[in-house]
């Protein structure tokens, strides 16, 4: 049990994919213009990551070593396409905003990295704990980025106005440079916190 909690917490903080490992940041920079997008992208990735980790873990003794990467990619691509089609059918307005980034989950290195480095070496229960931790770690990180960008860029939060009429929108926050600025500052802050807690 303790091991499972450890596996889960690992992705949330110690090896947080965005803030600590800085992997899979392409999508996190591109879709984070509104908080709603951050949440949706985070959940979509968590779903794909969890499903593929379970399957990779279950198939770990069957898949021959030499063809493991193509096998992982097929599994990941299948789950991604399922999310893609489901989103298109049931959440068309969300799909319109983040359409291209959903298929790109296939090449998001977090998913393949967890399959290769973790899920293929442990049983399915530990694989789920790790995938949920990593997925939710990714989700909270990009939600935080998108909340900051939405507040300063549009003066809204989840589409609701939070800053008064007199507020001038910081257009740069909605543009790619804004993503890098917010991300850079947050990584810095996280490093500071990590250093503080480590020295105690």
């Amino acid at each position: 049990m303790g091991q499972l909690v450890k596996d889960f917490i690992n992705g949330l903080w110690n090896e947080n994919p965005i803030f600590r490992m800085v992997i899979g940041i392409c999508s996190s920079l591109a879709v984070t213009t509104a908080a709603q997008n951050g949440v949706a992208m985070g959940l979509a990735l968590t779903f794909v990551l969890t499903c593929s980790s379970v399957l990779v873990s279950l198939l770990r003794s069957i898949i021959p070593d030499k063809v493991r990467i193509p096998c992982y990619i097929i599994v990941i691509a299948t789950f991604t396409t399922v999310v893609d089609l489901t989103m298109k059918a049931y959440f068309p307005s969300l799909y319109e905003v983040m359409g291209i980034f959903i298929p790109l989950i296939v090449v998001n290195c977090i998913v393949l990295a967890r399959a290769e480095a973790f899920a293929s070496k442990v049983g399915p229960i530990r694989a789920v704990a790790d995938a949920l931790g990593m997925g939710l770690g990714y989700a909270w990180a990009i939600t935080l980025i998108s909340i900051i960008r939405e507040i300063f860029g549009s003066g809204t939060l989840f589409g609701v106005k939070v800053l008064g009429e007199s507020f001038t929108q910081w257009v740069i926050m909605l543009l790619p440079p804004g993503a890098f600025l917010v991300m850079g500052i947050l990584v810095g802050v996280m490093n500071m916190i990590a250093r503080k807690t480590a020295s105690h």
């Binding site: 198939l59 193509p70 096998c71 097929i74 299948t78 089609l85 549009s154 543009l175």
Partner: protein
């Protein structure tokens, strides 16, 4: 079973299972996706032709027209799609046209990838409303009879040009004052 056979068998089986799963998902979601697309199209036609309650699709001279009608079947106008080339990609526009009056009844931006906060404002009513009631014989010249957006000239110009160019063709098919 030797190693090569095993590789081939495992990869093949995984691919077949994945393919079947995808075929199933596609079949399950496809009707819903088509329905969403049809609804989005219908909504856009209703937005650009006020008073539309039902529509009819007509193919003419290689263009697709959506004829908007009210509940009694009276024609309220024609809608068609056109595409302009914006600052960072194509801008797809739905245009409503009333041949009887020779005027536009409204426009809506269907899709675009312009800069958020600048060019993306072409989507807002403050920009699109100026085309409501505009005569098709107008010049559609930015900064003259088409108001542009501060900090973004390319996107509004692209919209104005796309509408003007398509109107040249559309007014040939459905002349001003003619029947439709």
């Amino acid at each position: 079973m030797n190693e090569y056979m095993r590789m081939i068998v495992v990869l093949t089986v995984i691919s077949i299972v994945a393919g079947a799963a995808l075929a199933f998902t596609y079949e399950a979601t496809n009707p819903k996706i088509q329905e969403q697309e049809r609804q989005a199209l219908e909504q856009a036609v209703m937005n650009v032709i006020p008073g539309t309650e039902k529509m009819e699709t007509v193919e003419k001279d290689g263009m697709t027209f959506y004829i908007g009608m009210d509940g009694q079947g009276n024609k309220k106008g024609i809608a068609f799609k056109t595409t302009g080339s914006g600052f960072s990609g194509p801008i797809e526009i739905m245009v409503g046209y009333d041949p009887k009056e020779g005027k536009l009844t409204g426009i809506e931006i269907l899709s675009m990838s312009e800069t958020p906060g600048l060019g993306a404002k072409i989507k807002e009513p403050s920009f699109t409303d100026q085309f409501k009631g505009k005569s098709v014989n107008d010049e559609f010249a930015p900064k003259k009879d088409v108001q542009v957006i501060t900090g973004a000239t390319i996107s509004p110009t692209a919209v104005a040009n796309a509408i003007k160019t398509s109107l040249d063709k559309v007014t040939e098919i459905y002349p001003v004052g003619g029947d439709y």
